[in-house]
Amino acid sequence: MTNRHQPHVLVLPEDDANRQIANGFLMGLDQPTLKQIQVLPPAGGWKAVLHEFESNHVVGMDRYSGRYMVLLIDFDGQAGRLNVVKQKIPQHLQERVFFLGWGHNLLRHNEVEIERLRRHVRPILFRAT
């Protein structure tokens, strides 16, 4: 069981394709850190990701300060969608919520987000060697 009082990561994929991408990421982690990450069931669309986040995860993130969330969303090349998604995240949680998507036009966004993810989440999921 993930120790909820230790830093841990929940990944919320938009759909089944994103779930499978998350699986590939899990296979690259060291065994001891596997308990610090959970991939949640696919939400069923980017709007459903937001609904799921607002309904079920804001409270959890408020309760557990070591909880980080990665939202896997297809931006489908629409920068506006990214802005919509970001605006839905409460200000006080924005540092602990990450958005990764696969729209080509938004790869620049991914680079920035991955760097932010690396900075915050790397100590949780990747042991120093």
Partner: protein, 377 residues
């Protein structure tokens, strides 16, 4: 690594072929009665042969023919790649009219394209490497006995390599409540129900002492309060497993102490963690490990299943192979379309069919489709 498993006329498997080449981990899913466990039983038949069961009646029964069809042979074929060499083993049984016990119709072992031995009913032809055909050894044997366990082997010859690999396949469907901590010997060959877990623990550590580090690392990851495992001698020839945990005493000032628990008193899920730890350690100790675990998630809490399955998949991704079955959504979601096979059977009068999930073009959430019964092979 198994490249191909072919089974014909055995229980619900008729002309059934699993192609597993270059697949380090594979999930078998399907409805109850679709044939997943029968795949395990077919592998068990082959494993029993390699572990020394040579009496045909102890391997298969007349009732194992698909729909009682004794007019056709029952056939098992396995193709395995070990250290770059392809091994192909075939055994076929038949039940002639008036027989009560099946007999061997055909048996062959081929290594790297060269026959090691061939057999037709009682007649066995043993090839001698590099010799002329007339220098082969020919002999007859009881047709109710399988040749593989009997043919003399020498270390590191093809027969030895294949047979040892087959014998050491890990085929598991543990029954935790039956697993005790006592052992009177050592083994590297756990039973399907894992009731000889303690002997397996002893055998693994005796053959590979460094395995304890892997076991310890895994168990402390999943049970952070675990301290160590002891396996002391308790009788002339027996040992007993104990697991100790760190406990925090409600005293002033707070203190910590160790609580030692007999293995048999662990919960079913904790015993599964122990089994998983040994599977991981065995996979490290074996160059080309293979494991088939029938529903490894059976006794686990939902929050434990994901990391449990991924740890097993990871352990076998470099040169080994891990197969599992599951009905659990969390376990199913830890695999992808390219390594999930769907078994299906329309009725008890029809054989099992297997298809890669990727060919079925399931739309949306796989688990949702499974719940709705929309996944058809």
């Amino acid at each position: 690594m198994i490249r191909r498993l072919y089974v014909h006329n055995f229980r619900c498997l008729e002309n059934f072929e699993l192609r597993l080449a270059n697949q380090p981990s594979v999930l078998l899913i399907g409805s109850n009665g679709s044939g997943k466990t029968t795949v395990r039983l077919a592998l068990e038949v082959l494993q029993k042969i390699a572990r020394g069961t040579n009496r045909v009646g102890a391997l298969v029964k007349p009732k194992d023919f698909f729909l009682g069809r004794t007019d056709a042979p029952m056939r098992f074929e396995i193709e395995v790649e070990l250290q770059g060499t392809i091994y192909q083993y075939t055994i076929a049984f038949e039940l002639p009219r008036g027989f009560r016990e099946l007999r061997v119709l055909e048996e062959n072992l081929v290594s790297g394209g060269q026959p090691v031995y061939t057999r037709n009913q009682a007649q066995v032809r043993l090839a001698r490497a590099g010799r002329l055909a007339e220098q082969e050894a020919n002999f007859r044997m009881d047709w109710h006995q399988v040749a593989l366990p009997i043919v003399q082997e020498s270390p590191n010859n093809p027969l030895f390599i294949f047979k040892q690999w087959l014998a050491r396949m890990l085929i598991l469907q543990p029954i935790p409540s039956l697993i005790k901590g006592e052992s009177t010997g050592e083994t590297l060959e756990p039973n399907v129900d894992a009731v000889n877990f303690a002997a397996w623990f002893s055998g693994l550590l005796a053959s590979t002492p460094a395995a304890y580090a892997r076991i310890d690392e895994y168990l402390k990851g999943v049970m952070p309060d675990m301290r160590n495992i002891r396996n002391p001698v308790i009788g002339r020839e027996s040992r007993s497993l104990f697991v100790s945990f760190l406990v925090h005493m409600l005293s002033s000032p707070p203190t910590t102490s160790e609580l030692e628990v007999p293995f048999e008193d662990l919960s079913d899920g904790e015993k599964c963690f122990m089994i998983c730890a040994l599977v991981l350690a065995a996979s490290d100790a074996n160059e080309q490990p293979f494991c088939f675990w029938d529903e490894p998630d059976s006794h686990l809490a939902l929050s434990e299943i994901g990391h449990f399955v991924v740890a097993l998949r990871k352990a076998f991704q470099s040169g080994g192979q891990f197969l599992m079955t599951s009905h659990n959504p969390e376990a199913i979601r830890r695999f992808s379309d390219e390594n999930t096979l769907v078994l299906m059977r329309r009725s008890h009068l029809e054989p099992a069919v297997v298809r890669p999930l990727g060919e079925l073009q399931v739309k949306g959430d796989l688990v949702g489709a499974l719940i709705q019964g929309d996944v058809e092979a």
